[in-house]
Symmetry: C2
Subunit: 271 residues, 2 copies
């Protein structure tokens, strides 16, 4: 949210919005099913983007009073349209920086963020600011990926290289594509209590064709392929090498392949 979007960053552009929607549909049960807030509770979604995660959030917790903030007004407009299309809402939206939220202390019962900390140069500061606006006893829920968890067959050095390009570009923009493994340290470091981290495995092989299409092709490969031009422009790769990497990732979607990825979901309580 606070990182200035650069051409590479996933989450912007029309194709990217489709990818985020595909991802949200495929992964909805895996990531969201166990987040349920009570009717009337005040919930903050920080860094909602175009609302890909907002729809399942509201669907699973009807009757909450949800406030969505994002740095970008156009993202908030997309999120509102998406919620309306799904017959959900209305919600309160507000342009805001996660590092300086325009809310009084203890305003919310709960805060929720998904694929946000990975983009922040100072996730520690964001967590402290979120803690400020959550009431004592309220909860924080965080979902992030970790590209270091990627495991596939057949193994392919070029595919590893292509993924490394994405990780490096995200690092140069101030983010961390491998933040999942750090959620425990980050939440404890922010003084939160009852920190509980639970990994969520996505596994695709020939026996799960919907995930082969929805996750390997339309989520993971789409995300890596989106950095092609930026990676070449940054001198991290050349077209031939990068394209071989994408081909290697596609190879894992064939009949004898497999692909595994881990998301990390963390919950914690504000003391």
């Amino acid at each position: 949210m606070t990182a200035t979007p650069t051409p590479y960053v996933h989450g912007y552009g029309g194709t990217e919005q489709q990818r985020l929607q595909d991802q949200a549909t495929t992964l909805e049960a895996l990531l969201h099913a166990d987040t349920r807030y009570g009717p009337g509770e005040m919930v903050l979604e920080a860094g909602c983007g175009v609302g890909a995660q907002t729809v399942p959030l509201v669907r699973n917790s009807p009757g909450i009073r949800l406030t969505c903030v994002d740095l970008h007004a156009e993202s908030l407009a997309s999120a509102e349209a998406r919620l309306a299309e799904a017959g959900l809402g209305p919600v309160t939206t507000q342009v805001a920086d996660i590092l300086a939220l325009p809310f009084p202390a203890a305003r919310f019962d709960h805060a929720f963020l998904c694929f946000v900390l990975e983009h922040l140069p100072a996730p520690e500061a964001a967590l402290l600011e979120l803690r400020r606006v959550i009431r004592p006893g309220g909860s924080l829920t965080v979902i992030e990926g970790d590209h270091g968890s990627t495991l596939f067959h057949p193994e392919c050095p070029a595919a590893r290289h292509a993924i490394a390009c994405q990780v490096e570009l995200q690092r140069r923009a101030g983010g961390d594509a491998q933040i999942g493994r750090r959620l425990s340290a980050l939440l404890r470091g922010a003084g939160l209590e009852e920190v509980r981290v639970s990994p969520r495995v996505v596994y695709a092989d020939a026996g799960r064709p919907a995930l082969v299409e929805g996750f390997i092709h339309r989520t993971f490969i789409a995300m890596v392929a989106a950095v092609r031009e930026s990676a070449i422009a940054a001198g991290l790769t050349d077209a031939g090498r990068f394209d071989a990497g994408i081909e290697g990732l596609r190879r894992t979607a064939e009949a004898d392949g497999s692909f595994t990825y881990l998301f990390f979901k963390a919950t914690a309580r504000n003391p």
Copy 2:
């Protein structure tokens, strides 16, 4: 089972037996809970070793007629003693090579193997031989790890190096410590049907002290540390570098650390 045990191979020696027992206890629910066979069914456990996995297998499926085979008579004796101590059994044991099982075709309803394929130079041949002794419509269940799934915080190149030593030594002995991701290909390649692979995540951080002790220290680090002398003798490392790697792995067990590992469990049906 068919690989000649070398000093490095995990699974032999008193400390190793304790480690395997600790591992089996910590991971029992995660790996075994969904394997249940009916009373009277004929089940083959191939490569039972000292019986660390046999105890939960029998406990979860009382009344099965179990045959355990292993290459080593002393392992079978340990397995029988372990079962008796747990008040389980008796079972039929037989010294046998998984590549040439001393049973007629279609003798068993089900076959089960856990941490066995990873040691075989020809897992494909073993699967075909297992298929031969399973009746049509019977099932095969396979559990394996994959060291490539190891994900930890803080990251540590020396720790990666120490793990790589274990992987390389296992490779030189004809095995594959990263076989989990290949189970789908192997089972389909053997002509089995309804192949279903499901990853099982072990995740340990300060919020799960039993797994920090039982998995990070007593399972994973113990397994890697066991190859120290062999890795030095093979010229893969030196004492300083290897020990720094073990220290790096221990570091992940501290209050701000995290450690993730994936097992892969596969089931399939003999057509």
